[in-house]
Symmetry: C2
Subunit: 469 residues, 2 copies
């Protein structure tokens, strides 16, 4: 079912030599087992998988370095693998080669409580980290939904529901340990909170999707667990009013921790899925962090604003049960969407636009969805102007696939037209590789390619991702 | 007095050809006048100036592009010039060539109130921008002290007193228009708040000090002017206690807008300079932004914390006169330092360390200063672990200069040893060019150099800065 790589059909002596060299020091942790390879060629997206020729389960940076220097010598592609939760085909071995599984690089190396930072290996997942930190009163806020690895979150510049307050991965990484294409190992920065010493290599590797190097260690900022967390929800007669109230909340400077939108299609899907009875209207779910006084004040301000935009049924609570119930509904959004058409799959896409254009962008997108036969709920991290469309599609029906392909492309072009981006947080992978030039222009993409070439002249680092070869 | 460039003594026909080509379209805005060239070769630092061979006063991106494509053809160096307020010799034409003065690129192109962002030409200064924004209830918070241009602030990854709340330039730039070495023009990004579409070229150019391209337009985040601003000050029996209270304020998550440290030497200098009578003790100056309730709550929490660390004389106020008085004292710090030794100059340096090492770093530095003959007050943006030493030195006394050189180098090595950086916010320029490898290691600096070479193969972009040639 999955594509075999160009190498799979080639028993070149070169590939055999490389495999033997790596097997020499990895032993059983280097495998060509078909089920394991298949597991490593397909992410959580609707994109076709591509099977790597082998999988290497590494346990430290030195092994990654050794593998890369061997692969570099022989020009064999490598594809880094974390938790496999990417959404634009990032881990597909479209040129074959070796999948480097980093999930065993799972040590939390050092937590510096006074400095509010920690250093972890790239395979540590965000749930693992937050469970570890809880007793120390600290947390790492970035929440892309999936229990991704920190390395994967860095590589895709992940963000999610809390970015409106805490920023994205680009804002929360202090330093990276990276293995370059030829096996050299670098640290991108010291641990100081800020620096103006040379080029910002940290930010260059954040979002580079494994195409410039393999991240093996990550130093990130941490935050104190807020004294109080409260949540609120509110419904609106239409989408413009919901979005306009978000604009005002942001403008007035309420330090809101989450402000999530769901359209009425999504709410209806959740009601069916959860057997709940949320009002079937455009909805905002919000979260506030701070002292007891501060979260109360924040929610009062937000309630006043939502009322000005005919928001109703404003519910605010600090009760943990209600908190969990609300975010469970949000978390179930994709499952609820999938359940709309049993046997169908999810084609999840995301764009991000300046918030002044967000209502327009969502409305035009909904209009197109309504004229199609495909159900497609919308949710969004609207404080940032970012939203997701979840097309529920029959993967065996090529007419449907083509219809979704068209709607996805129209959405991307619409967002770019509005001075937005083809992807707010999922990345390019190979799924959006054709839109990079459309968004940035030839010259800008040429600069990216020059940088790629300068660090990976043999194009062995996750080739075919970010750029089309 | 200033160094003449290698070109100044060379009337090569090549240079003449280049000058004529540029004069052709710039007319009087291209000059070889000695006083103007001298003005453009020396920044506000103690570093020697180097005179460019000519100065080009440009008024738009197209002119910059034309000049660069000509200079690229003939391998003539170019040095971008904003307000000339850099502190590590960034604008010195150490290889000669043409200074490109961007100060007439001073148009505020577009303010997007709903999106809390604006697009300005690179020569707009931060005071100009904030005066313009005031009526719209908006402001740009980054405050490096000097009335620098936005382009210069981007190029040096500036930050300053408000970084503890609002971040540095890296956190506040959405997109850049950049002219590359060969004259091509790129936009690094669309205007969306976040994106995961390709490499983060925006952050690559932030802090690149004119060595990768010339920034001609800047799109930055704006913020609503806070409803209330209040200030507080507090003194401590010793430096450790002051710093430990800062650590706790940050850890507990108080969203403090400024938290500035001054040592007793600095306070004494200010008292002399202003004829004031501040207690001569390690001091914190703080600012709070938010609603009236929020700033009161913040200051109450901070007062409680400072009391735990034997802080005293805690004064808190929202009165504008007091606000201005406090920040005037801080602003006068460098002038007050200079006044300690009339006829002497200031050698300002800065480092940044993880905050857990900040007290140690300051104390060790003070110990060395005390054993020298050079007065050197210390101030710091201590919420970020960043501090400045202001050596008051007789520039004609080479023994003194060497002594300061040694103390500066020891400070840099001390900071790096503590997992910190050789420069928190002043940049590398040519003043700290020898410390880059010490901080990052050979491999990391080699990666930076590969990127430099890929974008500027003829090394015409501000050569000799960031890296030694």
């Amino acid at each position: 079912m999955m594509n075999s790589s160009i190498f799979s059909n080639m028993t070149t002596s070169d590939l055999k030599i490389v495999f033997n060299k790596i097997k020499n020091f990895l032993g059983d942790r280097f495998t060509t087992s078909v089920p394991i390879r298949e597991n490593h060629g397909k992410d959580e997206s609707y994109h076709e998988g591509f099977i790597p020729d082998a999988v290497a389960f590494v346990i430290n940076t030195e092994e990654v370095s050794k593998i890369l220097s061997i692969c570099y010598q022989h020009s064999i592609p490598v594809v880094p693998f974390g938790a496999g939760t990417s959404l634009e085909g990032h881990i597909a071995a479209i040129k074959g080669g070796i999948s480097i599984d980093l999930s065993n690089l799972n040590e939390i190396i050092q937590v510096n409580v006074e400095d509010l930072d920690c250093r972890v290996m790239a395979g540590v997942t965000r749930n693992q980290l937050n469970n570890y930190l809880r007793d120390q009163g600290l947390f790492f806020p970035i929440d892309p939904g999936a229990n991704a690895t920190l390395g994967g979150m860095v590589a895709t510049r992940a963000s999610g529901t809390t970015a409106v307050k805490y920023g994205t991965m680009k804002d929360n990484v202090l330093s990276l340990k990276v293995v370059l294409a030829d096996g050299r190992v670098i640290e991108t920065s010291k641990r100081a909170r800020k620096s103006s010493a040379g080029y910002d290599l940290t930010r260059l590797f954040v979002g580079s999707e494994g195409t410039l190097g393999i991240i093996t260690e990550v130093t990130i900022k941490l935050f104190g667990i807020p004294e109080t967390k409260s949540v609120a929800s509110c419904v609106f007669p239409n989408i413009e009013k919901a979005i306009n109230s978000v604009i005002e909340v942001i403008q007035i400077g309420v330090p809101i921790a989450r402000i999530e939108f769901a359209d009425e299609v999504q709410i209806e899907a959740i009601n069916k899925f959860e057997k709940s009875s949320h009002e079937v209207l455009p909805t905002l779910w919000m979260e506030f962090h701070g002292s007891e006084n501060s979260v109360r004040e924040q929610s009062e301000i937000v309630q006043r604003i939502t009322e000005q935009y005919n928001g109703s049924s404003f519910k605010w609570t600090s009760k943990i049960e209600e908190y969990n119930k609300l975010w469970k509904a949000r978390h179930n959004a994709a499952y609820a969407a999938a359940a709309l058409r049993p046997g169908c799959g999810i084609w999840a896409t995301d764009v991000c636009v300046p918030i002044s254009r967000l209502a327009d962008c969502i409305l035009e997108t909904k209009k197109q969805i309504q004229s199609s036969s495909i159900p497609a709920p919308i949710v969004g991290h609207v404080g940032d102007g970012n939203f997701h469309v979840c097309f529920v599609v029959n993967p065996k029906n090529s007419a449907e696939i083509n219809e979704v392909k068209k709607m996805n492309e129209d959405l991307v072009f619409r967002a770019i037209e509005m001075d937005g981006t083809c992807t707010g947080e999922h990345g390019i992978g190979y799924g959006k590789v054709d839109y990079l030039v459309k968004e940035h222009g030839e010259n800008t993409v040429d600069v990216m390619k020059s940088i790629k070439f300068s660090l990976d002249p043999r194009n062995i680092m996750n080739p075919g991702k970010v750029f089309r070869d």
